[in-house]
C-alpha cells in the first residue's frame, strides 16, 4: 500500500475514533443517590423577564439540606447567547430562592453546581422552555 493511501486510511481511522469517543476531561459528578434536587420557577410557566428559581434540596428520605452552596448558570440552547449567572449561599429548610432573569424566549437549560455541607459536590441540569412576556 502506498504512503498516500496509508495517510488516507489513517485519517479515516482517526475520524472514526473521534466519532466514537467522548473526551474525559470534564468530569461532572452526578447527584448522589441519597440527595434529591428539584427546581421550580416563578412565574410558572417561565416568561421573559425577572423570575425566581426555587431549588429544593433534600435527602432521599425527605429531610431538608440547608447551608449548601449553589452556583447556577442559565444558558439558551442556541450557541452564543450570554449565560445568566447566579449563586445561592444558604436556604432555610433546604429551599433556595434565587433571583434570575430570562433574557429571551426559547429553550433554556439551567445547570446547578451544588456543594453540600458535608463537602460533597455534584451538578444537575434542568431543561425548560421560556415563553415571551
Amino acid at each position: 500500500m502506498s504512503s498516500r493511501r496509508l495517510l488516507l486510511l489513517g485519517f479515516l481511522l482517526l475520524l472514526g475514533l473521534l466519532a466514537g469517543c467522548s473526551r474525559a476531561g470534564r468530569q461532572v459528578a452526578p447527584p448522589p443517590a441519597d440527595v434529591v434536587l428539584t427546581m421550580a420557577v416563578e412565574p410558572d410557566p417561565a416568561r421573559v423577564g425577572e423570575a425566581t428559581l426555587i431549588f429544593i434540596l433534600k435527602t432521599s428520605d425527605g429531610r431538608a439540606i440547608p447551608d449548601a452552596k449553589l452556583a447556577i448558570r442559565g444558558d439558551m440552547a442556541h450557541a452564543g447567547m450570554q449565560p445568566v449567572l447566579a449563586t445561592a449561599a444558604s436556604g432555610p429548610d433546604g429551599v433556595y430562592r434565587v433571583p434570575f432573569r430570562w433574557t429571551m424566549a426559547g429553550d433554556w437549560f439551567v445547570i446547578v453546581q451544588v456543594q453540600l455541607p458535608d463537602g460533597r459536590s455534584f451538578q444537575q441540569r434542568f431543561d425548560l422552555r421560556v415563553v415571551g412576556s
Binding site: 498516500r4 475520524l15 473521534l18 466519532a19 469517543c21 467522548s22 473526551r23 476531561g25 470534564r26 421573559v48 448558570r73 444558558d75 439558551m76 440552547a77 442556541h78 450557541a79 452564543g80 447567547m81 450570554q82 449565560p83 449567572l85 429571551m104 424566549a105 426559547g106 429553550d107 437549560f109 422552555r129 415571551g132 412576556s133
Partner: protein, 461 residues
C-alpha cells in the same frame, strides 16, 4: 482611483506567493479540525462547544462582515478546497461536470435544503451534528474535486459558496486585469488554463472578462498563473457591478439573487416567536403534523414560492409599464441586481446581531477547553460573563439602521439601472421594484422588531 492590493508592498507578494492562500486556509483548517474534534468529543451543549459557537456565531458573523467590508475572504481561506489539491495529488484527472448542471439551479436547491436542515435539525444547538456538517463538506468537496476536472463543488453546489458569491456582488474588492492590451495579446491564457506549476481558475473565470465577483473564489490562482503579472485585486465602489450590466441575463442567476434575499428574511423570521405560532396553526390545518414537513412547507413558500411569484410579478408589471415586447427573463434580469444591497443588509443585520452578542464568548470557551485538557495557564475560572461586543440595547437600532442603509443603496442601484435602460423619462418602469424593495425592508424591520425566540426544536418536539 482604485488601489491594487496585489501590488501593495509586503501584502501583495504575500498574497500572490505560491503558498499565499495557505495564510487563510491553514488557520481555517486548524479551526475546522478543532470544531470536528470538540463537536464529536466535547460537551453536547451548544454554548460550551467550539463546533457550534465557531460555526454559528463567529463564522457567520465574520463571513458577512468580510464580504461587506472586504471581499470573499472565506472562499479564499476555505479549507474544504484543500482537498482539491489533495485530489490532484492522488493523480485523479476527472471528467467535465455535466452540462445540464452547469448553472445555479443546483446551488439554489442546495441553499434552500441547507437552511431547511439548519432549522429542522436545530444545527445551531447540536455540536455533534455541526461537526458532521463540517466532515460532510470535506468529503463532498474532496469527492467532487476528485471526480471532475473543474471545481464543481465551489461553482455549482456549495451552499456557503453560493451565499458568498451572492453577497460578494456588493464587496469593495474585485479581480481585474491591469492592462487589457496585455490580455489581448496573451496566447496561453494561463489565468484560466493554468501553467505548468500553477492551476488556472478553479471556477473557470477569464480575468479580462471579469465584471462581477460572482463565482470568484478570491483564490488568486489567476494572479499566480499570469506570466505577465497583469492581474490586480482592486478596490471598487460596492455597487459598481450592480449598476453596470455585469450579470448574465439568465433565469438561474436572477433567481439565485431573489432566493438569497428571501432566505435572509426567512432565516431571521425563524428565530422569532411568530414562526412557532404559524407552525402550530399549520399543524392543525394541514394533513401532516411532522415538524420537518411543516418547516419544509413554510420555507418552500418563503424561500421559493414567494420570490418566484413576487419576482415574476414585478418583472411582468415593469415590462408592461415599459411597453416593451421582450422575454420576461430580460425584464427580471434588468432590475434584480438592485435587490442585492438590501438582501446583504438583512443578512448583515441578522448575523451581525449574533456576532455582536457573543463574539467574546470564545474566550471563556477557550479557557474551559484548555482546562478540560489539563492546561491551566489561561485561568481556573472561565470568564463566562464575557460575550457581547456592544451593549445589547444598541443592537436593535443598529439592525434597523443597516436595513435602512441597504434599502437606500438598493433604491440608488434601481434608479441608476433604470436611467441606464430607460433614460430620465422612464421612472414609472421601476415603480413595481420600488414597491417590492420597500415591502422587503418593512418585512425585515418587522422581523427584527419581533420578540426573539430560539427553541432547540420547534413545536416542542
Amino acid at each position: 482611483m482604485s488601489l491594487d492590493l496585489l501590488h501593495v508592498p509586503v501584502l501583495g507578494p504575500l498574497l500572490r506567493g505560491r503558498w499565499g492562500r495557505l495564510l487563510g486556509q491553514g488557520p481555517l483548517l486548524a479551526l475546522a479540525v478543532l470544531m470536528v474534534y470538540d463537536g464529536l468529543t466535547g460537551p453536547p451543549l451548544a454554548p460550551y462547544n467550539f463546533a457550534t459557537v465557531l460555526a454559528w456565531v463567529h463564522y457567520r458573523g465574520l463571513v458577512i462582515l468580510a464580504l461587506v467590508f472586504c471581499g470573499n475572504l472565506f472562499c479564499w481561506g476555505c479549507p474544504f478546497t484543500l482537498l482539491r489539491t489533495l485530489a490532484r495529488w492522488f493523480g485523479r484527472r476527472g471528467r467535465r461536470w455535466p452540462r445540464l448542471l452547469r448553472n445555479k439551479w443546483p446551488a439554489i436547491a442546495l441553499l434552500v435544503l441547507f437552511f431547511w436542515l439548519y432549522e429542522w435539525l436545530d444545527l445551531w444547538a447540536d455540536p455533534r451534528l455541526t461537526a458532521w456538517v463540517v466532515i460532510a463538506y470535506f468529503v463532498a468537496a474532496g469527492v467532487l474535486e476528485a471526480l471532475f476536472a473543474e471545481s464543481p463543488f465551489c461553482k455549482y453546489l456549495c451552499p456557503l459558496g453560493s451565499f458568498n458569491f451572492a453577497a460578494a456582488t456588493v464587496s469593495p474588492l474585485q479581480i481585474t486585469a491591469r492592462q487589457a492590451t496585455v490580455c489581448r495579446t496573451c496566447v496561453g491564457k494561463e489565468c484560466v488554463n493554468g501553467s505548468t506549476t500553477v492551476s488556472g481558475c478553479g471556477t473557470e473565470l477569464f480575468v479580462p472578462l471579469l465584471a462581477s465577483n460572482r463565482d470568484c473564489l478570491f483564490c488568486l490562482d489567476c494572479a499566480r498563473a499570469c506570466p505577465y503579472d497583469n492581474v490586480a485585486l482592486t478596490t471598487r465602489s460596492p455597487w459598481r457591478e450592480l449598476v453596470a450590466d455585469a450579470w448574465p441575463r439568465r433565469w438561474d442567476v436572477s433567481f439565485l439573487a431573489l432566493v438569497f434575499a428571501f432566505i435572509g428574511l426567512s432565516n431571521a423570521f425563524a428565530m422569532t416567536s411568530p414562526i412557532y405560532s404559524l407552525l402550530a396553526a399549520l399543524a392543525v390545518r394541514l394533513p401532516w403534523a411532522d415538524e420537518g414537513l411543516l418547516l419544509l412547507f413554510v420555507l418552500a413558500v418563503l424561500d421559493l414560492v414567494l420570490p418566484t411569484v413576487l419576482g415574476l410579478g414585478v418583472a411582468a408589471l415593469s415590462r408592461h409599464l415599459a411597453g416593451r415586447d421582450e422575454p420576461l427573463r430580460l425584464s427580471l434580469a434588468r432590475f434584480v441586481p438592485a435587490v442585492m444591497p438590501l438582501a446583504v443588509a438583512i443578512w448583515l443585520a441578522h448575523y451581525g446581531f449574533h456576532f455582536a452578542t457573543a463574539a467574546l464568548a470564545v474566550i471563556p470557551l477557550t479557557q474551559q477547553f484548555l482546562l478540560d485538557h489539563g492546561v491551566t495557564f489561561a485561568g481556573l475560572q472561565p470568564a463566562w460573563q464575557l460575550g457581547p461586543l456592544v451593549p445589547m440595547a444598541w443592537l436593535r437600532p443598529i439592525e434597523l439602521a443597516i436595513v435602512l442603509i441597504g434599502l437606500l443603496v438598493s433604491l440608488y442601484v434601481l434608479g441608476e439601472r433604470n436611467r441606464r435602460h430607460f433614460g430620465a423619462q422612464g421612472t414609472t418602469v421601476m415603480i413595481p421594484w420600488v414597491v417590492l424593495l420597500v415591502l422587503m425592508a418593512v418585512a425585515a424591520v418587522l422581523i427584527f422588531s419581533s420578540p426573539m425566540e430560539m427553541r432547540g426544536s420547534a413545536l416542542g418536539g
